[in-house]
Symmetry: C2
Subunit: 159 residues, 2 copies
DNA sequence: GCTTTACTATTGACTACGCAAACAATCGTA
DNA sequence: TACGATTGTTTGCGTAGTCAATAGTAAAGC
């Protein structure tokens, strides 16, 4: 039986499959409920969240795409949906006619608030029942190093 | 400006977005290379891996689906592809005529070996350059608790 | 001033799933 | 032994996302 080569228990293997499983488990659960209760995908919600926090509640599509890790075309289609639903509007940039802003509408703001109320609670419950505070901090830190460094210097943001 | 409610820094939030980012980053990279170099998706590869380790290199579709976290229909379509490529064959079960086995072919075995050689190296390099051994163990353990318990009663298997 | 290069956004074609429905086979129970 | 409930698999349809190609705009070199 020459197949033992592939039955591997390396640390990388364990961490990798754990990442796949944890991601699938957690997002499956949360996205099912977010969709059922509010008709949003997780990406939809994450986009709306960034817009709420953005100055004047508007962002360029490119920047939005980068923040939620979608491609340019992915963001276009996602925003198409949010636009159709009336949660965002498009606006043009006076100084650069290539860019199209996504602007959160009042309906959109109401929607995020409504969705956030339940989604955050579900998320914190899902994570909180499995991991305590210290572990969550540790996990976020380890995952953060895998996820690349857009905000790699959180010097003063120490919880 | 009443929107601070949504600008949240809870531990759950940090861990959750870190999970999303890490998963996207890691799988994006690895799956792109696995596809480019071997024409397989990560799920394809994971399925082939389970088959290699399975007794007689065969598994029921249901069990396969559960192990790689796909739905029944997902596994059907995935195996369709692997079958078309000649990496697995279907076989029936003499004692239960509902079940269809997926059986790894010799070509399939060769393929996993070939793919494993590069994929494992890439995976370990990706993880290993960001996290040391102790951190990988810690990460796998934390993620394992989020990923639910297929092996939740490891009475004697206590690490 | 042009021309080349780089950036932003959209579209078409495709893929990897999921869900719900359908169907066959098996099991439990009476 | 008949019959409802459960299990294993497949299929139709829908959806979120990717990549490659396109086009318009902006910036840089000369």
């Amino acid at each position: 039986m020459p197949s033992q080569v592939l039955i591997e228990q390396s640390l990388g293997a364990q961490a990798f499959v754990a990442l796949l499983r944890a991601h699938a488990t957690v997002t499956r659960e949360l996205s099912a409920r977010l969709d059922a209760e509010h008709g949003l995908t997780i990406s939809d919600f994450e986009v709306l969240l960034r817009l709420v926090a953005a100055p004047e509640r508007r962002m360029r599509r490119v920047d939005l795409a980068q923040e939620v890790l979608l491609t340019a075309s992915g963001i276009t289609r996602l925003l198409d949906g949010l636009e159709r639903a009336g949660f965002v509007e498009r606006d043009s940039c006076p100084t650069d006619r290539r860019v199209v802003y996504a602007v959160l509408t009042d309906d959109g703001l109401a929607k995020v608030r409504e969705a956030a109320a339940t989604h955050f609670a579900q998320r914190d419950e899902l994570l909180g029942t499995r991991l305590d505070d210290g572990e969550l901090i540790e996990l976020a830190s380890l995952l953060g190093r895998l996820g690349g460094r857009d905000d790699a210097a959180p010097c003063d943001a120490t919880a």
